[in-house]
Symmetry: C2
Subunit: 424 residues, 2 copies
C-alpha cells in the first residue's frame, strides 16, 4: 500500500492532468468502498491510468478527460470484434425491439445452443449464464452431480472466478469453501498423478485453464503430454475434464481452445468474448454429462435475456466467416515482432509469452514490477493502453496502423525505461 503522503501527491498529479477522472474518483470514494472494486480497479495500475471511460469505438477508447488510447485490453477480453461492431449491435437491437427479459427464452436461445453445439468440438449441449464464474461453478456442480463424487483438481495459481470456492483472495472465505479442491501444477504431469492419488476414488473433475495465464508470470501453452495426461486421468476415473475457456475462448480456436492441442474436454466454461461485450456465459458439455446437467437447479433472473444471445449468434458467425482469429494472430505477431525489435534496440530484456493475440509482456529483472509500471505509464501517455501484469487481448478491429501506433507508444515506454536505467 502507498503511504498517505504519496497518495495525496498522486491525487494532486491526477487532478492536474485528468481533472474529470479525479473528480469522479473523489465522488466514488464516498459511495463505493475503496472507490472501486475488482479487476477494473485502477489502483492496481500505474498512477497515470484513468479509472473512468467516456466512450469506445473499434479498438479505441477515450477516457473522461478526452484522452484517446489504442486499446490492448479489449475490456479484459469481451471485445472480440471491436467496440460497436455494427453487425453484432444490429442483432442486439433487433431482438431488443421484440423482447429482452420475458417469462421464458426467445427462439434465439435455441439457435445459439445449436450454433455452439455445431461449433464447439466436444459439445452436445449448452446452458447459458451471465458471469464466467457462473459457468465455472456450473461445470463443477455438473461434474459432482454426474459422478456422485466431490474432489476437484485445480492448478495452483489459476484463476477460475471470484466467489469463495475459487477467488484469488481469501478475504471472507472459509476453509470449507475449498474443502474439496486438490492442487496440482499446470503442465506438471507428475503433480497431476499425485493429485489424482490424493482424491482417493472421490474424483469429480479436473479443471484446467485453456493455457496457463496466471497474473504476473509468463504464459504457457499446455504441453501435449499434460493435456493428454489430464484427459487420460479424467477418463480413467470416469470424472469430468473441464476446460475453463472463459478467458481464452474464441481467440484461439472457434471450436474451443483445446482443439489447438487435439484434446477434448467433457465440459467447457465460456463467457467474456462470446457476445462481443454483451453479458453472457455458456457451459458446453458432452452426452456423458447431459443427464446430470438436466438435474441441476441453476438459474438467474437475466440468464435468458434474449438480446445478448442474438449478439452472441452474430459474434460467433462473424468470427468464423471472417476468419477473425487469423487476423488477430497477424496483428498479434506484428505487435510481438515490433516490441521485440524495440527491446533489442534499447537493450532492455523483455519476455513475451503465450498466444500472440493474447500478449503478455514482462521485463527481465523486474520482481517489484517497477519496470512494467514505468513502461506502461509512458506508453499510456503516448496513447496506448498496455497492462503491466495481466495478459492483454487483441480484437478483429485492430488494424496494422493501430498496432503501429501502439508500437510508437511502446517506443516511448522503452525510452522511459532507458532514462530510468542506472548510470543513464
Amino acid at each position: 500500500m502507498k503511504s498517505t503522503s504519496s497518495n495525496i501527491a498522486a491525487a494532486r498529479a491526477e487532478a492536474s492532468t485528468a481533472p474529470v477522472d479525479a473528480a469522479l474518483r473523489e465522488r466514488a470514494r464516498r459511495v463505493v468502498p475503496g472507490g472501486m472494486w475488482g479487476h477494473l480497479n485502477a489502483a492496481a495500475l500505474p498512477s497515470g491510468y484513468p479509472q473512468f471511460f467516456a466512450r469506445s469505438e473499434g479498438c479505441h477508447l477515450w477516457d473522461v478527460d478526452g484522452r484517446e488510447y489504442v486499446d490492448l485490453m479489449c475490456s479484459w477480453g469481451p471485445i472480440l470484434l471491436g467496440h460497436h461492431h455494427r453487425g453484432v449491435d444490429d442483432a442486439y437491437a433487433r431482438q431488443a425491439a421484440l423482447g429482452a427479459c420475458m417469462n421464458g427464452p426467445a427462439p434465439v436461445m435455441v439457435e445459439l445452443a445449436e450454433q455452439l453445439v455445431g461449433q464447439i468440438a466436444h459439445a452436445d449441449w449448452a446452458l447459458f449464464q451471465k458471469n464466467g464464474t457462473d459457468a465455472t461453478t456450473t461445470c463443477v456442480t455438473v461434474a459432482r452431480a454426474g459422478t456422485g463424487r466431490r474432489k476437484i483438481l485445480v492448478a495452483r495459481g489459476a484463476y477460475h472466478g471470484a466467489v469463495p470456492w475459487c477467488s484469488p483472495s481469501l478475504v471472507g472465505v472459509t476453509s470449507e469453501d475449498r474443502a474439496h479442491l486438490i492442487y496440482f501444477d499446470y503442465n506438471d504431469v507428475e503433480s497431476v498423478k499425485a493429485a489424482v492419488q490424493q482424491a482417493e476414488g472421490d474424483l469429480a473433475a479436473i479443471l484446467v485453464s485453456a493455457f496457463r495465464h496466471d497474473l504476473g508470470r509468463d504464459q504457457e501453452a499446455p504441453t501435449l503430454a499434460f493435456a493428454q495426461a489430464v484427459r487420460a486421468a479424467a477418463t480413467a476415473a470416469d470424472a469430468a475434464l473441464i476446460v475453463d475457456d472463459v478467458r481464452a475462448g474464441f481467440r484461439l480456436h472457434p471450436g474451443g481452445s483445446w482443439e489447438t492441442v487435439g484434446v477434448r474436454p467433457d465440459l467447457s466454461a465460456f463467457s467474456k468474448s462470446i457476445a462481443n461485450g454483451y453479458p453472457l456465459a455458456a457451459v458446453t458439455g458432452n452426452d456423458r454429462f447431459r443427464e446430470a446437467a438436466s438435474k441441476l437447479y441453476v438459474t438467474g433472473s437475466f440468464w435468458c435475456e434474449a438480446p445478448p444471445m442474438a449478439a452472441a449468434l452474430v459474434t460467433q458467425r462473424t468470427l468464423v466467416a471472417e476468419q477473425a482469429i487469423a487476423h488477430m494472430v497477424a496483428m498479434g505477431q506484428r505487435l510481438r515482432d515490433g516490441l521485440a525489435t524495440l527491446a533489442r534496440q534499447s537493450g532492455i530484456g523483455l519476455r513475451q509469452s503465450g498466444p500472440v493475440q493474447m500478449p503478455m509482456v514482462l521485463f527481465d529483472d523486474d520482481a517489484d514490477g517497477h519496470k512494467g509500471r514505468t513502461f506502461c505509464n509512458a506508453a499510456l501517455s503516448a496513447g496506448a493502453y498496455f497492462h503491466p501484469r495481466h495478459n492483454m487481448f487483441l480484437s478483429a478491429a485492430h488494424q496494422p496502423e493501430d498496432i503501429d501506433r501502439a508500437l510508437s507508444a511502446a517506443a516511448a515506454g522503452f525510452e522511459a525505461l532507458a532514462r530510468a536505467r542506472p548510470g543513464h
Copy 2:
C-alpha cells in the same frame, strides 16, 4: 414426474395448439439438457403454458404462436415499469452509443451509486454485480470479512439464489458448501434465539428475505417482533443483518423493503427490478461494513457494463417521481378484490397473501396443486399469465383495463374449477 405416455400426449396436444413452441421445444431437447433449465422451465407449469416468447410490450406478452397474455409475472420480477419503457430504454441506448463494456466503468456508475445511497435508507455505499445470487453471495462474504466469523443464519425454505451454498436443490452440492449455515423459521423469534445460541460466538450474519415468499405457500410479511429481534440479535453480536431484497426490492418501498417495518439492515442485496429488466445487481451497505467491502475481491467481466447502470438510474428516478409503487398497490388491490369476489361467487376457497403488488394465489384443499394448475391453464387460454405456485409481480404499466382483462381470464379459471368439482 409424468409418465412417458402422458408426456407424448401432452406433446401432441401442444403441437396441435402451439406448433411453433412445440417445434422449438423439440429442437431445444437436442441441444439443451432437459430442453430448458431453471425457473423459466415451462415443465414446472401446466402443460398449456408456452416455453418460448416472441415479444413484449408494457404488461403484455406474445408467445411464439402469436397468443397474447396480460403478464402477471413481469419476467419473475425484473419488469417494474413495463416492457419497453421509453425513458429507461432511451437511457440505455444513449449510454450504449458512447460505451458499454470498457476497461473501467463509465461515470454513470458513480451517479447510480450516489442515487442508491440517497434512496436506500441504510446505505452508505453500493457495489454492483449481475445476478441476484452475486449480490447475496457478496453480502455473506462481506459479513464474514467484516466480522472474522463464519456462521450465517438463514430461514428454512427461503430462496437466496442458485449456487451450491444456497440452491433449493442439493444436486451437485457437498455438505461443506453449507457447513456454516444455521436455520431458523421466518417470523419465529424463539427459533432465531436458538440459532444465535447455536452459532456460539461465531455469528457473521443473519440473512432474511424482505418477506416470506417461499414457493407454494402463503406469503407472510415480517412481524415487527421478528424484524426487531433479528436486528437486535445481529447488533448484540456485532454481526450483519442482511436483507435479501432481490425479489421484493423496489416494489414495496424505494428505500428498501424493511422501511415498511422501520428496521434497517447493515447489508442489502438487490437485483431483478433494479434496471427494469436490464441485467444488474447491487449490494448496499452501511459504514460498519465499508472497510470489509473494500477488502473483498469480487468481480465479473460485465459488472461495470455501463448501459444497464444508465437504465437503473432512470428506473429508480421514475419509480420515485411517478409514485409507481402506489400505482402497483392500486392495481394489485383491484386484482385481489376481483379475485376474492370471483372466488366467493363460485364458492371456491382461495387464499391471497403477501403484498397486493406481489400476489400469491393458492387454493384451499389443493395439496397436489391440481386446482392451481386447472385454474391457471384456463386463465392462460383466456389470455392471462398467472403462476400456480410462485408469487406474481405487477408493474407500473398495468392499467385498470389490464387487471380487468386478467379478471375475465380468472373467471374462466374459476369456471374450469367449478366444472371439475366432484358432483358437478
